[in-house]
Amino acid sequence: MAVSVSTSTIPSLNSGCSNRFAAPSSSSSSLQFPLRVPQIRIGTTGLWSPSRPRVLLVKATKQTFSSFDDLLANTDKPVLVDFYATWCGPCQFMAPVLNEVSARLKDKIQVVKIDTEKYPSIADKYRIEALPTFIIFKDREPYDRFEGALTADQLIQRIENTLKVKQ
């Protein structure tokens, strides 16, 4: 059964320790891991103590993933992944843009953010260099990839072109 992720909220991987505070300005629909977000637990990187489950209920949706691969496997829509870093200006610029895109395309794509400093192995796996880098995953594989900040309209256009062509 596919796990349905609420599209008004953006799960983000940004902490190996449980002390990340959600920025009020972006928390309206961007969930900051782990305090009040769908918890994405990485079981393989040694960041988690197995004796301490870190699953939280968020609003009305309970979402649990044991790894990024698990998230990809359990999402029935294509996934837009934003690889970012805290002090990357354009990445922060994209936060409200991603909220808007997530809301406008809620039935078409799932938006996820990954903090490359907290999850460097995932960033290494996909050879991330410049930030922000966006990868659209379809059927668990990278499908389209682009770097840099863009407006909500530009991003939506890119997503729709990509998904249309591939379908």
Binding site: C17, S18, N19, R20, F21, A23, P24, S25, S26, P34, L35, R36, R52, R54, L56, L57, V58, K59, F83, A85, T86, W87, C88, G89, P90, C91, Q92, F93, T116, P120, A123, D124, I128, E129, A130, L131, P132, T133, E147, G148, A149
Partner: protein, 147 residues
């Protein structure tokens, strides 16, 4: 002492908060977001950014929040690595990169081609370029207060 959870979300009380000040009267669980760069480094990178923008004929982003975040990112790397490594990149080995220098601000792409993907130094033709080459410490603090 009681911990009050917000109504709209549930805090799992069992989660350890490494920096939360638990004690005294009842209050919301507050957790510090991240380490901030030192004021001294922020000031150094702020001055550098203003000077370099003037020198290179480039301008800050219309959204000064972007400028502020990058300046803090540069300051953060200056604190941790001794050099202002570009904060808009993912690295395998940050200390090695800082020692090597290609991505130390002003990075080689900026010096050679005025390419700044951090959107810190923007050529006038760039859609995001504003008209300013100055930014105050207050602006930086206000823009990044919510982070």
């Amino acid at each position: 002492m009681t911990l009050q959870a917000q109504a709209s979300s549930s805090f799992a009380v069992g989660i350890p908060s490494l920096t939360s000040p638990l004690g005294g009267s009842s209050h919301r669980l507050v957790v510090r977001a991240k380490v901030e760069p030192s004021d001294k480094s922020v000031e150094i990178m702020r001055k550098f950014s203003e000077q370099y923008a003037r020198k290179s004929g480039t301008y800050f982003c219309v959204d000064k929040g972007v400028t502020s975040v990058v300046i803090k990112g540069l300051a953060d790397h200056k604190d941790s690595l001794g050099a202002p490594l570009c904060p808009c990149r993912h690295y395998d080995d940050k200390p090695a990169e800082a020692g090597q220098g290609f991505w130390n601000c002003p990075c080689v792409p900026m010096r050679e081609r005025k390419e700044c993907h951090c959107m810190l130094f923007l050529t006038p033709d760039n859609d995001f370029a504003g008209k300013e080459q100055a930014i105050s410490l207050e602006e930086i603090k206000e823009s990044t207060a919510n982070m």
